[in-house]
Symmetry: C2
Subunit: 564 residues, 2 copies
């Protein structure tokens, strides 16, 4: 009550503010106006917008003062940075709050890992909210450490910064009325649920929405976006490194206004953030494409807060958290000053990483023979056909190259071998297959980032190099490696759950780029070899994928043999 | 889960709906479009909007299909109808849900009365939500049966249909940081709070909003409305019988759009509803004044639901409650069909009225001498100056008319005597004063409806007639009476808490009109004598009011003597 009395006294003008942001053009998200006013801040909260005096002052004359940006949906693990380093990266770009689905960590470390991530983010100046990961594993064909059960979700949703249930990726299950999915939707904390329904339209979309799922970030086209809005779903416009939907969806903003539309990054690589920014980059691109700055700002701040019920975020008005950006112009959207809870960005203290979080890669001993594929038939085989820099694949029929009774990789035929090695419980389970269209000519690429179960994925031209790459991953405790013969030509250690580096941003970006360059030197033709590889194990995105249990025909939703 | 599975199956098109509303133009509150589509309803909920088949069908061709209207703020007691009769009145007008502040009942029957009202409204086809009355009594100068304490508010806010804390009428207390007001705002259930801040602007409005109060229905002007919107407060546009703000505030809709603006009726008389409609009347008037029908419909349905967090109300989309109106045109907004929870309006069963609710008027014996006012001074006196058909009054200095050592009423001087008789605990406390400007020439008017404490208010030209009128009110258990000499020339019994009739609408309207006519026959000049009288005891509206404790100078916020 003392704080509230002080807040009210400052608002009234009877007590000085801690800080006054003076003389800027203050954005009202409520009226889409620029107000010539001071912003009074006390105890990290906006007391009033008007004419105020304070203990200290920031001169905002000539600047636009806008609320901090909020990412409506992302996976903290994708930038491969520890959460403290992630905060150091995005806070200066104006992102002051994010809503994270921690399903990568959840697949690797179970519900304990999510509780750890909640703890690890509690002291950051960046506000990190969570949604409880609804689909661990993503499908019955994937092998996480342990499935997240309804009881796990309940334990998460009781925590203060957990807002609801994260993206319901098992959209076929929801649409079919699968009791295990409906059980999750019926949990006490699951009144607020994010969606994930790629390509779903018509009556199936009505069914998905009827289940109580009121957002989606998978709309790719105006038509998909339009149907989602009409069905009462919030349109979370995503601009991820490998799924850029912003420009395609902006016509909906032109047509209907920014209402019930919010921005999110979903999965953004660290170098993408360095090069193109974060949510501020989406605002910049939207405005460059002709959207009114006021509308773009709404979608980047107020609307993510409204969707997620963050009733004290996303506006500059009495009682709102004082997350304020000073923008020199309405073009670059690069803030000159960022105030989080009314304070300038401070040095982000290092977050300690407990040892159990580092010890996540557990494999049975591997030898080259584990990757051998005997072949006795005379028919064709199905291969995973890469679609350059897309997360979807094709199921491609190819003739096998057989040597000594085994089907092998062939640079000439552009066929690389792929394996997924179970790495949580050291079961020794290995799924084997072939990839066509990578361009790989020699060596092997391996990664412990392999959505969503994050078993070890390796693509190579020889069994020996593949085994060597996997062994190196195990030594590192996870990461990405590029092997040429028995040389490690590039690597990035990701010792935190096999997903996150404990190195600073610059090193992560540099090593990441070196790995990509090394992959290209081995012949890989696509721009993002490891990002592409990381989705080859995701058995819920069409068409042919691979897990430690074998090849998965996603369209038929079943395990299929290599031979046709 | 079974219901949800059925809902999803119908949405998918794999099971027939209970009902299909076919071939209408369906309003999407999300895109402000009219969709040519069927609406499938199952178990009272919208399964889907598209092409559907069902067990039964309503032909909506040629009709506009819109969500049911929602009144964002009203007092159920004002129309003087029992809740079942109120439902019979407003459901056919398209109002399918209301959010009520029960502070009239709360003043008379305490928290028990509110719990009773919650129970009494639980079986109605009309959805009645409540806010816990924050200000009982409205001021320290008023005498309700018993004050509502924070514990009472908590007990209310734990109930399912209670959404938060009702209008914080003690705005000076909030702005001053009064601990007893902040205690209420700090209650667990008080995260959602309605405001009431007449005339508050500038830094004081910032202070009021900083306290966490995010709506107001007291804005009278564009400037007041604009400041409220900018301060992050929802603008609840009120069109009450005695406070018609709609036309004055519509320019804000033209300027900013309908965002964060919702309609409410606050206090509407039964005959006003009969003559002008309810929320549908506000839509009609807004559209007649040039507002786009789509915007008006948003303010009448979706926006009240959004403000109050009624996440399954106020839209026609999968998972929303099937409250649907068929409108023949976008001019009259008089629905041809109303579906509540997917069902036509049914006969509303009578609500039983327990005896304790009827026994609310308890007064000490009265005689004419209780109304006598001895006068020995030679100065002027302050009188309550009526402002025709407004709730505000003036404090007017007048010379007393003295007879036999007593100051008396005088038709010649247009001075009527006014008294407020405490009626909850039979204390015998009577506040006395004079009213100027009523036009009353003879007789007496009395009412048990006297905001907010609802003691008995009587205005008369002789002590004998005043005493007689009060005695009659006590016999009736409350109501309004018009006395001429020792004849009761008109009366309306309001035996339910002294506030509500147990008679049907037609009788209430007829008797109400007869009372008004009888008052006019006695000389009263204003159009709404009893409504005007009912606000003369409300000690939080300027300038001079009267309670059982005496005259209240509202501007100075203190009891003042009659003599100047």
């Amino acid at each position: 009550m003392e704080n509230l009395q002080r807040l009210i006294a400052v608002a009234r003008g009877d007590a000085p503010a801690d800080l006054v942001v003076r003389g800027g053009k203050v954005f009202s998200v409520f009226t889409r106006e620029w107000l010539d006013a001071d912003v009074a801040v006390v105890d990290g909260v906006v007391a009033g917008v008007g004419s105020y005096r304070g203990e200290s002052t920031i001169d905002a004359s000539g600047s636009y003062v806008v609320p901090g940006f909020i990412d409506a949906h992302l996976h903290l693990e994708t930038p491969k940075l520890m959460v403290d380093e992630f905060a150091r990266l995005v806070l200066p770009l104006g992102t002051t709050a994010v809503v994270a689905d921690p399903h990568e960590i959840a697949n690797v470390l179970g519900v304990d890992g999510v509780h750890w991530l909640l703890d690890a983010t509690s002291g950051l100046q960046l506000d990190v909210y969570f949604m409880a990961s609804s689909c661990v594993p993503a499908s019955p064909f994937e092998s996480p450490r342990r499935a997240l059960m309804p009881g796990d979700l309940e334990s998460l949703m009781r925590r203060r910064r957990v807002l609801g249930l994260a993206e319901m990726m098992n959209f076929p299950g929801v649409i079919a009325g699968d009791p295990s999915e409906l059980e999750k939707l019926g949990l006490e904390g699951a009144r607020h649920v994010d969606g994930h329904a790629p390509g779903v339209l018509g009556a199936e979309l009505q069914a998905y929405a009827a289940a109580g799922i009121r957002s989606d970030h998978e709309a790719l086209t105006v038509e998909e976006g339009r149907e989602r809005l009409r069905a009462g779903m919030w349109l979370l416009v995503r601009e991820a490194s490998m799924a850029r939907n912003l420009l395609a969806l902006l016509p909906l903003v032109q047509e209907y206004g920014p209402w019930r539309i919010a921005f999110c990054t979903d999965d953004r690589d660290p170098d993408d953030i360095v090069d193109n920014g974060h949510i501020n980059g989406m605002v910049r691109e939207a405005v460059a494409a002709g959207i009114a700055p006021e509308d773009a700002l709404l979608m980047a701040s107020h609307h993510p807060a409204v969707w997620h019920g963050l009733s004290r975020h996303g506006a500059i008005a009495p009682g709102y958290v004082a997350d304020l950006l000073l923008l020199p112009d309405l073009v670059s959207f690069r803030p000159s000053t960022v105030l989080k809870d009314g304070r300038p960005i401070e040095e982000v203290p290092s977050v300690a990483i407990p040892e159990w979080v580092r010890q996540s890669v557990r494999i049975a001993p591997v030898t080259p023979s584990d990757f051998a594929i005997p072949w006795s038939g005379d028919g064709a085989m199905r291969t995973i056909g890469l679609v350059e820099d897309q997360v979807v694949t094709e199921s491609v029929e190819r003739g096998p190259v057989v040597e000594g009774g085994q089907v092998v990789a062939s640079a000439e035929q552009d066929l690389a071998k792929i394996a997924v090695v179970e790495r949580h419980l050291a079961t020794g389970r290995v799924g084997l297959g072939f990839v066509s269209g990578s361009g790989l000519e020699r060596g092997a690429l391996a990664s412990s980032v392999a959505h969503d179960a994050h078993n070890l994925v390796v693509v190579g031209m020889s069994d020996r190099e593949m085994a060597f790459a996997i062994e190196r991953l195990a030594e590192l405790g996870g990461g990405i490696v590029v092997v040429d013969g028995l040389d490690i030509v590039a690597e990035l250690a990701l010792p935190v759950a096999g997903l996150l580096a404990d190195a600073p941003l610059a090193e992560v970006v540099e090593r990441s780029r070196a790995c990509n360059e090394a992959a290209h030197a081995l012949g890989w033709t696509g721009a993002t070899p490891f990002l592409t590889m990381s989705f080859l194990a995701l058995s819920v995105i069409p068409s042919l994928k691979i897990t430690d249990r074998g090849l998965v025909d996603v369209d038929r939703f079943e395990i299929v043999p290599l031979a046709l």
